[in-house]
């Protein structure tokens, strides 16, 4: 059974790129572009891993992460956060909220795939 990843990202071209490289690696990729409904989408999709953008319309990635960590079902969900804002405070905030991995855009395709495979081995 293929590992499933949900990509929460509002930039269509980036969604396209991530979907392409992870599909190619054998992941099942789901996407969601709206911050407000993101938590609901995660709970419904029950993915093995989550790729989360920070600047989303409606709700920020930090708020979404906080909710997920507070929720029983998603407390241990591996989360890779991607942000276009490269400041140190962003990384610190994400780690305080319990992120698993934090990467700054633009990213290396191979690194994203590698990181996800580390987070969800086997």
């Amino acid at each position: 059974m293929a590992k499933q990843v949900l990509v929460i990202e509002d930039e269509p071209n980036i969604v396209a790129a991530i979907s392409f490289i992870l599909s190619r690696d054998g992941w099942t990729v789901g996407t969601h572009a709206n911050g407000e409904t993101a938590v609901q989408a995660v709970l419904e999709a029950k993915p093995d891993a989550l790729i989360l953008d920070v600047m989303l319309p409606g709700r920020s990635g930090y708020d979404i992460l906080q909710d997920l960590r507070a929720h029983e079902l998603t407390r241990r969900l591996p989360v890779l956060m991607l942000t276009a804002r490269g400041q140190r405070t962003d990384r610190e905030q994400a780690e305080r909220l319990g992120v698993n991995r934090f990467m700054t855009k633009p990213f290396s395709n191979a690194e994203v795939v590698e990181t996800l495979n580390e987070l969800v081995p086997g």
């Binding site: 071209n13 980036i14 790129a17 490289i21 633009p106 290396s108 395709n109």
Partner: protein
């Protein structure tokens, strides 16, 4: 023959006449009707109280004994009057400015309102004047005795002591009636002064009449008189008629000093003075009077010596010559002249002395006994009047007792000299106080006491002779055999006339003590203030006719009030009050109403207690020093100025603070925005970069067999590269616009065409967002001349914003065009929810973007660019609130458009 009864009847009639004159003058003055009363003539005549019975009778005796030396008695006052501009004017000005009531008051006031000095001067004056009053009583008695002599018929009452008592009693009555009728603050007595002026005329007429009778009726004209003078000089004892320089200078100085310091002279000169005009006239008129008074002295003396039997008293020649030649009428006139001289002196002297005694001795004592009732109830005036009346009686009783004690043995002139020397002791302190700021209270007291003691020791006590307080041995050998302390030969100085000796030593030691102690003692603040006011009186007071005392006080009050309330407020108050009193200028009379009002006003600034103390100080009587109060007032004023400045500053500060707060708020927002923008710009740059990198890596890795997919990836890379370029273009555009380096290309174009181009440029976005645009083409047919490409850029931004950010279900944008006051207005109004009020001020700032909507595709630079563009075009872009949706108004002045055909 004159009977005693006739003489008494004439005297009584004369006295009744004087009463009527005084009474009429007082009534006239009360009605303020008679200008004559304040004329220089009355003033000049009143100065004739200088010429007492001593000068009327005694001058002839003096001339008979010592030749021309009697002239010194007239020379001193003449010099003082001629030099009035230098000293007398200052004295009178100070006296009026300080409301001086007596010479004791002058010194007390000058030296820090010291009552000690007042008491000393009063005592000196009383002791110095008492013999003089006795002298007047003696002269009247002697005059009676002359009539009594040889005429037993009709002279049933030749008791001389009783005569003196009657005269003293009558004078006391007159003085009390007219000297204490009312308590005028300025101590002016119109009735008395006018009566004295009448007496002055009687004196002069009497003496001139006797003189004319003597010269042309007896002496055989001027030639005969000259002969008689020669005869008299030969007959006189050796050296008696010769002129000695030392005595002349000494006696002239003495008479000048006495003219200024005698209580009665000070009273008529200064206290009764009604203006400097009087002084100016008197400066020549009074010497003229003295000249006339002295004109026939020598002829009468030499004719008397030549025609009357030997042993006849020369002091009574004025009476005995007419009687000798059976000129009863002339003798009567002469008697009235002498009577006038005596009475006028006694009246004025007792008024002056009574003022001093009651003000400086009785009242302070009485107030210290019953201080509370005195200040609360109004009976001070009654007490003061009673004190005056008692003092007058006391002074006359003293004079009478002295008359009885001395037994009338001493020559008239000698008594006069003793008095002169005594009161002259006041001169150093008085002149020093007016001319020298360094003069101090202690110095004045030391000088006065020293001079007084020396005078008493060298002149006054020895004058009683063996019967008095000094034994013959003390006079001859000095106390305890110390020859250098002999009363009439101090420090071994012998051979001087006793009077000159006494004048010399008393004035020298007095002056030394005065100057010496002044130099080593430090005057208090009030003393310094008074000193400055006395010495500089001519600099800062102006001569006015009457009421100057009040004005001087009002001026002090104004100075104080200005320091306390501020110059404008004080001047307004004083001017208003003055005009309410019907006066011009800034100095109202110090009426109770005004004082109460002023105290209320001052209370508002410094509190009631301080205000009361301040006014009490200036009005006189308080113990706080004026300097201290001035300092308080200065501080208060500074505080008031400071606090009003503070208030203004506070308002200013509040405004500034509000502005600062607004600016700060804006700055904070801008700062936050700038931080946000850095994140934003990072985001805006990194987002396309992410896509570009991701897809370029995919293409680089190869393995993509689907050509269509590869093409799609490449086109994404291309699109994102364009997006990056656009962002960079916007940033550069804004930078250029902000730095004013933009090149404008103005051209003429119809507005609708420009809008058409803008709509066309955003066509794909309009279609994508399903935006409907409503335009009124007819109104858009306006030719504009500007950089229409830049204007189109603004329009594009606004249309794109409406398309991207409009949140209505069916997006609609209305473009309205209008012209108002020569300004073209293009409004862009959409049907969305609009922009929140708090954001409206921020939207034109750089980097501001209200949402994170990446689809907007901008970094929040659009409206900032629009604002810069419109600024360059000479127009403006503003947010138009209250239009339901988002509404922007672009304005462009049409006048600025150059018309080209």
């Amino acid at each position: 023959m004159l009977s005693f009864n006739t003489l008494v009847a004439v005297c009584l009639l004369y006295v009744i006449l004087l009463f009527l004159v005084a009474f009429g003058a007082d009534r006239s003055a009360a009605r303020n009707k008679n200008r004559f009363l304040s004329s220089p003539l009355i003033y000049t005549l009143s100065l004739s109280v200088y010429c007492t019975a001593w000068t009327f009778y005694g001058a002839v005796g003096y001339a008979a004994r010592s030749g021309l030396e009697f002239v010194t008695i007239y020379l001193g006052p003449t010099l003082v009057m001629i030099g009035w501009w230098w000293f007398l004017r200052k004295l009178v000005r100070v006296g009026r400015a300080q409301r001086v009531t007596s010479i004791a008051d002058l010194l007390s006031s000058r030296y820090g309102k010291s009552n000690l000095l007042g008491v000393i001067v009063t005592l000196i004056a009383v002791i110095g004047t008492t013999p003089y009053i006795a002298l007047q009583l003696q002269s009247v008695t002697l005059a009676f005795s002359v009539f009594a002599r040889d005429r037993s018929a009709g002279w049933s009452v030749p008791d001389l002591d009783a005569t003196a008592l009657w005269v003293a009693g009558g004078l006391a009555l007159f003085t009390i009636l007219f000297g204490t009728r009312n308590l005028d603050v300025n101590e002016r007595h119109h009735g008395v002064v006018t009566a004295i002026a009448v007496e002055a005329v009687v004196k002069l007429v009497a003496l001139l009449a006797v003189g004319i009778f003597v010269v042309w009726g007896v002496g055989g004209g001027p030639a005969g008189i000259a002969q008689a003078v020669d005869q008299a000089m030969r007959a006189a004892p050796d050296g008696a008629w010769s002129i000695t320089g030392g005595r002349w200078v000494g006696l002239t100085f003495l008479s000048a000093a006495a003219f200024l310091t005698l209580p009665r002279m000070f009273h008529v000169l200064v206290v009764e003075n009604l203006g400097e005009r009087q002084l100016a006239v008197a400066s020549w008129a009074f010497p003229t009077y003295l000249f006339l008074m002295s004109l026939f002295v020598v002829p009468i003396a030499v004719v008397g010596l030549g025609t009357l039997p030997a042993g006849e008293n020369p002091d009574l020649f004025v009476l005995t010559i007419p009687l000798h030649f059976d000129q009863d009428g002339l003798a009567m006139l002469s008697f009235l002249g002498g009577f006038s001289s005596a009475t006028s002196m006694v009246i004025v002297a007792s008024i002056a002395l009574a003022t001093m005694v009651s003000n400086h001795i009785i009242m302070p004592l009485w107030l210290s006994i019953r201080p509370e009732e005195a200040t609360v109830s109004g009976d001070v005036r009654q007490v003061l009047l009673a004190a005056r009346r008692l003092s007058i009686i006391g002074v006359l009783v003293l004079g009478y007792l002295y008359f009885r004690m001395s037994g009338g043995g001493t020559a008239l002139a000698a008594i006069g000299m003793i008095s002169f020397t005594g009161v002259a002791q006041v001169l150093p302190a008085m002149a020093g106080g007016l001319l020298w700021r360094g003069a101090s209270r202690n110095g004045a007291a030391a000088g006065l006491v020293t001079g007084f003691i020396v005078w008493a020791y060298t002149l006054f006590l020895p004058s009683f002779g063996d019967a008095g307080l000094m034994s013959a041995s003390l006079l001859a050998e000095g106390p305890l055999g110390l020859a250098w302390l002999k009363p009439q030969a101090l420090f071994g100085v012998t051979g001087l006339d006793p009077v000159v000796h006494a004048v010399f030593w008393s004035m020298i030691l007095n002056s030394f003590a005065f100057v010496g102690v002044s130099l080593v003692s430090f005057p208090g603040p009030l003393e310094r203030l008074q000193g400055a006011q006395f010495v500089n009186v001519l600099d800062h007071t102006h001569q006015t006719q009457g009421g100057i005392a009040s004005a001087a006080v009002a001026e002090d009050l104004l100075v104080m009030a200005q320091r306390t309330m501020g110059a404008d407020a004080a001047q307004t108050l004083f001017q208003t009050q003055a005009s309410a009193q019907g006066k011009e200028g800034y100095l109202p009379d110090t009426t109770p109403d005004f004082m109460a009002r002023l105290e209320r006003e001052l209370s508002g600034s410094v509190g009631a207690a301080t205000a009361h103390a301040m006014i009490a100080q200036i009005m006189g009587g308080a113990t706080v020093s004026v300097d201290d109060l001035m300092a308080v007032a200065d501080e208060t004023q500074q505080m008031l100025v400071y606090s009003s400045q503070l208030e203004a500053k506070q308002k200013e500060l509040t405004t500034t603070a509000r502005q600062l707060s607004a600016a700060n708020e804006k700055l904070t927002k801008l700062s936050i925005q700038k931080d946000a923008f850095l994140s934003q710009i990072s985001h805006e740059l990194r987002t396309p970069m992410t896509s570009i990198r991701a897809f370029s890596e995919i293409l680089r890795d190869g393995g993509i067999r689907d050509a269509e997919a590869a093409e799609k990836h490449a086109s994404i890379i291309h699109d994102e590269a364009l997006r990056l370029t656009r962002l960079l273009d916007d940033l550069l555009d804004l930078s250029v616009l902000e730095h004013g380096q933009v090149q404008l290309n103005p051209q003429r174009e119809v507005l609708s065409k420009v809008l058409d181009r803008a709509v066309a440029a955003t066509q794909s976005l309009i279609v994508a967002e399903d935006l409907r645009i409503h335009r009124d083409l007819a109104r858009e047919q306006i030719v504009i001349a500007t950089d229409t490409d830049r204007l189109a850029q603004v329009f594009i931004n606004l249309i794109a914003n409406a398309a991207k950010y409009g949140d209505a279900k069916f997006k609609r944008l209305t473009i309205r065009v209008g012209v108002r006051d020569g300004v073209l207005r293009i409004d862009f109004v959409d049907n969305g929810s609009g922009i929140p009020t708090e954001s409206q001020v921020m939207i034109f700032e750089k980097f501001s973007r209200l949402t994170d909507n990446a689809a907007a595709g901008g970094a929040g630079l659009g409206l900032a660019i629009c604002r810069e563009v419109m600024d360059r075009l000479g127009g403006a872009i503003t947010y138009l609130p209250g239009q339901r949706g988002a509404a922007f108004r672009v304005t462009l002045p049409l006048e600025k458009i150059p018309h080209r055909g």
